[in-house]
Symmetry: C2
Subunit: 190 residues, 2 copies
């Protein structure tokens, strides 16, 4: 039996994203990923069901960064305050050290329409999870869905700005401005 | 050659939706749809590439109901006013007479996760088209994306309410209220 590799998951992920970015997603084989990471195919499949899961496998953890923010919002918080807490919690998770990884991942997704679709569906399911968490806190419909979707929209737009070349601002700072812009855009009489 | 059927498209669509709703989408064959409509399979394929296109084939027309509203918004209109015009234009298209067809279609989609995914992607591509039309009118980013996505969100939530059992209100009336609720939810200090 192969000895336990403490960082196998990260090594496989880094190797895969590099190969997807340079050779293309379709063209890359699991054998190549394993080889580039200095591991076996069998090890790859211990961590990932397929090539796509390398990119989308962290969905649970990702979603939890939002729902943690919902749980930690104070009692009596408004829907907007709860969603802001969720989006800030996710924003804090994507620290400056994560940016290179996120940039590489985003580049691969942008180059492949079928991965873009998958990413969009992931955001849809995130909005559903946030709306459910809001309803659990007593927010009624359609406010729960409107607030959840607004939060995911702010996150998506902010995340893209965060990954822009030369950006020095933190994701949380950007989110604050995008939230304000969304509010101004949708204000009555605007 | 078969004689031209002036209403073949609608007959095939109605027959297909009925069968999808009663027998399931996967279980229904093109032969059954053609037979139920009193037409041939060959005629079916003259109008639709496959079974899924019966449900999603109207995407161009659907998108145009929004972009027509963008074109007709007066010069100097704010992003919110332009998007409201787009959403109202689509709202007007879905008249009371269209409701039974929309209800049947929605029921089929709700029962099939893969059709729900396709519908979500359709909404994503609609938001992209609206954002592009806004940029063409001089709206900058991220305002164009935020306004476009807000409009699609309002449409989606309103459309669902419009299809609720017993609803008597027009889609445009519902949209007005949902727009107001979105504005209140995202207002600074709310």
């Amino acid at each position: 039996m192969a000895r336990w590799q403490p960082d196998a998951r990260e090594r496989l992920q880094d190797a895969a994203l590099e190969l997807y970015a340079t050779h293309g997603f379709e063209e890359t084989t699991v054998a190549e990923i394993a080889q580039a990471a200095g591991l076996t195919e069998r090890t790859f499949f211990r961590y990932f069901a397929d090539k796509r899961e390398v990119i989308f496998g962290g969905q649970d953890l990702f979603q939890r960064t939002f729902t943690d923010g919902i749980t930690s919002a104070p009692e009596g918080a408004t829907p907007r305050e709860i969603v802001t807490s969720a989006v800030n919690s996710a924003g804090g998770f994507f620290s400056a050290e994560r940016r290179p990884h996120s940039l590489l991942r985003q580049g691969v997704i942008s180059a492949h329409p079928e991965l873009q679709e998958r990413e969009l569906l992931k955001m849809g399911s995130l909005a559903g999870a946030i709306a459910a968490a809001l309803r659990e806190r007593g927010v009624t419909e359609p406010a729960a869905t409107l607030a959840a979707e607004s939060g995911v929209l702010v996150f998506r737009v902010s995340f893209e700005q965060w990954l822009t070349e030369g950006n020095q601002r933190s994701l949380v700072e950007i989110e604050r401005d995008v939230f304000a812009e969304l509010g101004a855009l949708n204000a009555a009489g605007s």
